[in-house]
Amino acid sequence: MISLNVNGTQYDIDVEPDTPLLWAVRENIGLTGTKFGCGIAQCGACTMLINGQATRTCVFPASAAQGLEITTIEGVSDANDHPVQKAWQELEVPQCGYCQSGQILSAISLLNQNPTPSDNDINLQMMNICRCGTYPRIRKAVHRASEMWTNAAASSENEGENA
């Protein structure tokens, strides 16, 4: 049995230790928001956050994720309103949408580390493949999310000062 903490919930699942985390989450836990695209960590459709870091889970053994915090697209927000999700909606980023869970998780990981990334920072970090060609919109949406994120941080700081 392997015990995994996914989006704050503990799941005990009966899988072999070398089962990729992607398939353990999709098939044994039943959360299908994270996608399968290549199986060799080339495309990023399988991206989840592990302790806040974007990770390609199609090659990451489930056993290695025990005791770590796993975040999937389902756990990003309760109301589809994380700044990254809102930016994606505002700029109409998704086309077919298949790569977007991975893109969103990658963007969150980036912004967690660097809340005000430059185009160059975004280019270097966001390596997920999109076959529909939404790259230019993703780049704009990361900037937009950064804007919303830093505005939110600034206003809660102000609230703190006035309290």
């Binding site: 949408g97 493949i129 999109c130 060609g133």
Partner: protein, 713 residues
């Protein structure tokens, strides 16, 4: 137990809350209105309005990222007059009432959704609106002409209102009006607006169900190994080793492949590895060098005629490789087969082809066959095929279990219906001013339609004029007619190759754009003229000139700080011109600075969607031009995953500007027209940069690679 999707649940709820007005439209454009009776009529419904004013719209096409769920709903909503927030959307089942009039079958392809359904969708909405208005007129004992419709209500001149839901009961007993008037363009409130897509929210929270996501109690998962050598057959495999893998339940041997059925994909994949399967036979002599030689021999066999009366004569030769579709969601299908019923959940571009293969393989009747289209993680023409559907049905039959078949990426890349290889020769004679006056062109390429004719035979032959059967209509698109000379002398030389070929985004235009725009660019330079000016003064079509001019203007054509290449192509009823701004290092690393796209796609339903499709279509072609090639070695596909069949990433993608050239013409397509011009725009820019003329794609074959993009001031 099958989880009902939210869409399905709403439909059932409407069925139990009282009278529902249901509106259908036959494939001949005839509108049908009837009260809800039994289940069978549900399959023909385009629009249902419930007593509590909820509107469900059935979209005929597959949603694969082109935004059809939204644009089709916009067309109905505009005419119906309901509130946009009150609508939900579902995809059509298998029913001929939804046939694409362009193809006389259900097929989302050819960039035809808007042009095909522009009339029927609006008629459906307008008919329902007219009937609600008449019903309200009767209720109020007043003239229908004094009433107006807004936000799902009919209003009279005193300010009283009745909701559609309230009017349903009386509307159903009215005659369907013979004549309905559609709103003039000037009154459009929704059409032409960048309405937010209805599927965006589910796609940002991981709740969009693609085919690969289907799950229900008892569903098994299978994966498959096809013969690595094309057309090979299984010769040996260790069935018991596979069955010994935990979770594996069955091994199913098909003609050219072996499938393993298990409780999970991971176990099925382990089962495939344990099989240690060997295959024999097939096209072991097939290799890329041989393919190229075959094309050359085809062209050598039919030499171009001499050009007699020209100031100068130019010979050009161009070649492009096989290309894979590489949809990010790999091929998959789910089948639940029972004695008297089959359910198929599939990301498909054709409900009818899916249903028909099920009919053929199971002998069930159409009423017993239920096709449920999911979202598609990319289509690009690949999912109009039913090979993976047939496999899944066969596996379900062999095991007697419900099964979801998922192909690995390697299987997906090596068992495609590829964009055909193509090689072409031109002999063009120009006059004293360098303009083409005699244009001879031969194209050698395998035919997609040779296979398609057999697949579609009965319905197809009934409408295709016999003479068209002699030529492949898509092989010749963009070659047989060109914007630069009235009557090119063009001949298609069908090349016989065993490689399966199919429809790849923009089809024949994917190579004819490169060929034509390379030839014209070479002519321009030979004449010592500016490539933009040369094209402008040689083309006759005003719409073509407008987009070309718009692209050149937006790209600041003629700027000296970057190298620029321009290309134009008309396809699927739309006109597109593209300009690439780049610079190149000594080591042949290309920095893309900007790509400009100008498009005239006729009347626009959702401009944001048009922009997105231009960006996406162009990038799809750019990826191919940069490094896309599928090669064969000893009958086996060489490139199997994204390490060897690379896809451009964000860092390589420059700023893109899309300019929409307004037009009152009939709606053209937008899914594909962005793709054809980019390859030549790129190679024309490379020529402008350093004088190297690339005549074979991808450009990586000539040592070029696309580095990090960089915007210019």
């Amino acid at each position: 137990m099958i989880q009902l999707s939210r869409r399905q649940f709403l439909h059932s709820a409407a069925a139990t809350t009282g009278a529902t007005l249901l509106v259908g439209c036959s494939s001949k454009g005839q509108v049908i209105v009837q009260p809800e009776s039994d289940e069978s009529v549900n399959d023909q419904l385009w629009l249902s309005v419930s007593a509590d004013n909820k509107i469900q719209i059935t979209v005929p096409s597959s949603e694969m990222g082109q935004g059809v769920n939204t644009s089709c709903a916009m067309l109905i909503t505009e005419e119906l007059g309901c509130a946009w927030g009150d609508i939900t959307v579902k995809t059509a089942p298998w029913n001929k009432t939804f046939n694409n009039p362009m193809f006389r079958m259900q097929m989302t392809g050819g960039s035809t959704t808007i042009s095909s359904y522009w009339e029927p969708l609006r008629k459906v909405g307008a008919t329902a609106r007219t009937m609600f208005t008449e019903a309200a007129a009767l209720k109020w004992q007043t003239d229908a002409n004094t009433l107006s419709v807004k936000d799902g209500f009919v209003w009279n001149s005193s300010g009283d209102k009745l909701s559609f839901g309230e009017l349903v009961g009386s509307a159903v007993s009215l005659d369907v009006p013979e004549e309905i008037s559609l709103k003039p363009m000037s009154e459009h409130q929704l059409i032409g607006q960048p309405v937010a897509r209805v599927d965006t929210p589910v796609k940002t929270e991981g709740k969009a169900d693609f085919g690969i996501d289907v799950q229900f109690e008892g569903l098994r998962v299978a994966t498959i190994m096809h013969s690595p050598v094309l057309n090979g057959t299984p010769s040996s495999f260790d069935k018991f080793a596979a069955l010994a893998v935990k979770g594996v339940e069955d091994v199913v041997v098909l003609e050219n492949a072996i499938a393993v059925v298990a409780d999970t994909y991971w176990h099925a994949k382990k089962g495939i590895a344990a099989l240690n399967a060997k295959f024999t036979g097939g096209e072991q002599g097939l290799n890329s060098a041989g393919v190229s030689a075959t094309l050359t021999a085809q062209l050598d066999d039919k030499p171009l005629p001499d050009v007699k009366n020209a100031a100068e004569v130019y010979d050009f030769e161009y070649e492009v490789p096989f290309l894979a579709h590489a949809t990010l969601e790999p091929m998959n299908c789910t089948v639940k087969l029972e004695e008297e019923r089959i359910d198929i959940w599939v990301p498909s571009q054709s409900q009818s082809l899916t249903g028909q293969i099920a009919e053929k393989l199971t002998n069930l009747k159409q009423e017993q066959i239920h096709v449920h289209l999911t979202y598609l993680g990319g289509g690009f023409g690949r999912r109009g095929e039913i090979d993976f559907v047939a496999e899944t049905i066969e596996i379900a039959q062999a095991t007697g279990k419900p099964v979801k078949l998922i192909w690995s990426r390697e299987e997906d890349t090596s068992n495609d219906f590829y964009r055909p290889v193509a090689k072409t020769r031109y002999r063009i004679g120009v006059d004293g001013s360098g303009k083409p006056i005699e244009w001879h062109n031969h194209l050698a390429s395998p035919s997609i339609f040779e296979r398609i004719f057999k697949l579609f035979a009965p319905g197809f032959i009934s409408w295709v004029p016999f003479t068209r059967i002699i030529d492949d209509p898509v092989a010749v698109e963009g070659m047989k007619e060109v914007p630069y000379i009235k009557e090119p002398e063009f001949e298609y030389l069908q090349t016989k190759l065993p490689v399966p070929v199919g429809f790849w985004r923009s089809v024949g235009n994917s190579y004819s754009g490169f060929f034509t725009e390379s030839a014209i660019d070479e002519l321009a330079h030979a004449a010592g003229q500016d490539p933009y000016e040369y094209r402008l003064s040689t083309m006759h079509d005003e719409r073509a000139k407008s987009v070309l001019t718009a692209a050149a203007k937006a790209a600041k054509w003629g700027r000296s700080d970057v190298a620029q290449g321009i290309a134009f192509h008309k396809s699927f009823g739309s006109y597109v011109a593209e300009v690439v701004d780049l610079s190149i290092s000594e080591s042949k690393e290309i920095t893309l600075h900007k790509i400009t796209i100008a498009v005239d796609s006729g009347i626009v339903v959702n401009p944001d969607t048009v922009e997105a499709q231009m960006e996406g279509g162009m990038i799809y072609g750019l990826v191919a031009a940069a490094e896309g090639e599928i090669n064969f070695e000893n009958g086996e596909v060489v490139e199997k995953n994204f390490d060897t069949y690379p896809i451009l990433r964000m860092y390589q993608t420059p700023e893109i500007e899309v300019v929409m050239v307004p037009s009152g013409d009939a709606p053209g397509g937008v899914g594909e027209p962005g793709t054809p011009p980019i390859a030549a725009a790129l190679t024309n820019a490379i020529f402008a940069a350093n004088g190297e003329r690339i005549r074979t794609l991808p450009i990586s074959k000539s040592g070029y690679r696309i580095g990090t993009q960089m915007p210019m001031a």
